[in-house]
Symmetry: C2
Subunit: 135 residues, 2 copies
């Protein structure tokens, strides 16, 4: 878990942290129950304010990704069943995919290329997962 932030990207720093923790959790770089860096430690490493780190963790807790215990720290939650219904989950993904499709159109990437690209990224993702769970 070694996050990095880009202050000039326009994306709020706390959201960048949220994304990276989620990616680390999904990819297996973080294990369920494992402690995350404290808000102060994370803030110092990234040279940001404590509150910015705290806000990222608060957002992660509200999304059910981590659990925070005041005075103790923040810990990655076990992958419980998503509380959202299957249809709702598909809808959310569909909206994101639609945006990608529009983007692909403007970048002039064809349907088949896009499908292949997804398959390739999925494979790379699973490979990274395997690597993490091996050590």
């Amino acid at each position: 878990m070694k996050p990095h932030v880009n202050f000039r990207s326009g994306v709020p720093v706390y959201l960048q942290i949220v994304q990276q923790v989620k990616a680390a959790a999904a990819g297996g770089a973080l294990r369920p129950g494992e402690a995350l860096p404290s808000v102060r430690a994370l803030a110092e490493e990234l040279r940001i304010n404590r509150n910015t780190a705290a806000r990222a963790y608060a957002e992660l807790e509200s999304e059910g990704v981590i659990e925070t215990r005041q005075g103790a720290g923040c810990f990655l939650k076990a992958n419980g069943v998503s509380p959202l219904k299957r249809a709702v989950r598909s809808d959310r993904l569909a909206a994101e995919l639609d945006a990608v499709i529009v983007q692909a159109h403007h970048l002039q990437v064809g349907d088949d290329d896009l499908k292949s690209l997804l398959a390739a990224r999925l494979e790379a993702f699973r490979e990274r997962q395997q690597t993490r769970s091996a050590d």
Copy 2:
């Protein structure tokens, strides 16, 4: 071209317009060379300020989607060849797809389901395109 904006979504209004114009252009609802609503007309229809509409158009021009001619109006550009190299274009899409994959993981949507979902959205997108180009 009948955009709509959501003031409570948190997404800046001008970016919502940008996204919708891009989607309309990709989907064929707007044809190359076609004139977009004037800054003032769009502002009045959406009940937003001229400057907000102008900002959206400025952003679209900087991305090469439209062409603005002062005194004349804004027009959809012809789908020229993307100036980016194929590898760069794939990289951009890959980054977006990776984010979708992480999201799918947290929503507990499997690889095959995700692939099917992409295929379905692509099909729906092409159907909309067909409909537009028919009238």
